[in-house]
Symmetry: C2
Subunit: 313 residues, 2 copies
């Protein structure tokens, strides 16, 4: 029988699961509900049951399962120990040991969900073929997943890749969720784009399709694509901030490629038009040729990356 891997992406509402071959082809994917009651103590048993059920259904023998990878919403160290996942009700314990126990000894590897998604994009998504990659997630916040020589950079306390909190604006007065001011996340996240647009709208009376309504990041990018001048100014600002932040990242890790994902990235290639030039302006020459690509796996990046955790080179 061919070898199989399970990839698990544990979220606050649902658990996504995928059955993979060792090359990273997904053979089946499905979801179960994340049961958070009783401090989340049902979650891992539910996942174990889902995996065992699938093995039975597909007649997959235990010895044909290379392992189970799991991405979890919280900091995880290289031994698979999680340090609190507040929205699951979890404290500190070894996911790896606990889930291996529930799976009768099948090998388990665990990682932080954002980092694991980055690994997925490297394996089978926008970063395929590269060993040194930074996944940039432009969503509610701005997150980073850093891959060095094919492995996740976790950091000393699981705070590696917190690129949304690089200072990019000295003169900001509004406070970021992290308590600082002028963080990249305040400009390049979905809410950041809206903040930039609202500030620009308030500055004068320049005509714009964005006037007179509650706007979303998507509205801004749609207006950019339609050639709205004010929206283009906002996109330029967004690109300056993002280019500046990513230039700092490149001075540290010198990636082959940045892979841009998250809700804001749905705007597509137009993002590149505004971020790549500022990046080149701000970056050290040794990183000027770094590539940029859009993420391609969407919400499946997590299960791909989780599966990859058990077949790292």
């Amino acid at each position: 029988m061919s070898k199989r891997i399970f990839g698990v992406d544990l979220g606050g509402t649902t658990v996504k699961l995928g059955l993979f071959d060792p090359e990273g082809n997904v053979l089946e994917k499905w979801e179960i509900t994340t049961r958070k009651e009783d401090s989340g103590k049902l979650i891992l048993p539910d996942i174990a049951d889902a995996i065992k059920g699938k093995m039975q259904e597909k007649s997959i023998a235990k010895e044909d399962v290379i392992g189970v990878g799991i991405g979890v919403p919280g900091p995880v160290d290289s031994d698979g120990v999680i340090y609190k996942a507040a929205n699951l009700g979890w404290g500190v314990f070894s996911i790896k040991e606990e889930l291996t126990g529930l799976l009768d000894g099948i090998r388990v590897e665990a990682g932080n969900d954002a980092n694991v998604a980055a690994l997925g994009e490297m394996w089978r998504g926008g970063g395929q073929g590269y060993d040194n990659m930074v996944a940039v997630t432009l969503g509610t916040g701005v997150g980073g997943g850093i891959i060095v020589d094919g492995r996740i950079l976790t950091g000393a306390k699981g705070a590696g890749g917190e690129i949304g909190h690089i200072l990019v604006e000295e003169h900001e007065t509004e406070v970021c969720g992290c308590g600082k001011t002028g963080c990249l996340e305040q400009y390049a996240s979905a809410t950041g784009v809206v903040r930039l647009a609202n500030r620009r709208l308030a500055k004068d009376d320049k005509a714009s399709v964005l006037r007179g309504k509650k706007i979303s990041a998507k509205d801004v990018w749609d207006a950019v694509k339609a050639g709205d001048e004010l929206a283009v100014e906002v996109a330029e600002q967004f690109g300056e901030y993002l280019g500046k932040g990513l230039a700092a990242v490149a001075c540290v890790v010198n990636p082959d490629i940045f892979v841009i994902g998250g809700g804001v990235s749905k705007a597509g290639d137009v993002l590149m038009d505004y971020m790549v030039e500022p990046y080149k302006k701000y970056v050290f020459h040794g990183s000027r040729e770094t590539k940029f690509a859009l993420a391609t796996l969407g919400n499946d990046a997590g299960i791909y990356g989780a599966a990859k955790l058990v077949v790292l080179q």
Copy 2:
């Protein structure tokens, strides 16, 4: 016979060599001249002769040498290929293969000299006991050596750890050696400290022991220690810039510790008084507890780190 390692630090003027035991104790160290004539083609044979001579002198059998590590002044990839070392006259070739050949098959590992020195500080210097470390060299320029999970972060094109070129001042008009403006190196290097001091001196007539002479970075720090008010202002500026730059680094790699070396670090603990507070102000909370230490190996960091290259975990 006990196992032995050779660590080699190849510089533009001299080659430093060290004989180590596998625990990282240096048993002997010595130097030879770097002969740069003929496009540097004598350098590796000279090194091989020096090692073979020492093996003979000490009756060390080939099978007792675990390997030879070498740090070189230029970008080196993970296969031990160097991409030009301009001041040695070298082009692109595999140091690893070439030196192994000259040493009758003894294992060779090669790395960039700054990165290798960082590894040395992690093994037996200021970063001992930590797996995630950033070595910051405040010398003629500002360099970084980044260690992730005990291994050197090289980057896609060997430009990892170029932290001296992170933007920390939007309003700079003077151009950095790299062609950009406002790089950390323009303020936190030895010449940067002097620049900051000269600018402050030119601003008004405030009394200072630094007036009326050509000053060095050491003069500035001596004046700080003596309580010179103007020098203290300069130190505060220096600390702001360095704290801001290292905060960006920590948002990316979340190290356990920063180890500060290079000529400027000879000022000692007083540096910490000015850089740590700004760092805490600018950094993401997940990296607020990162430690700071001074480098302890001085010019020997390179031979220690080179030796460590062959006994990486």
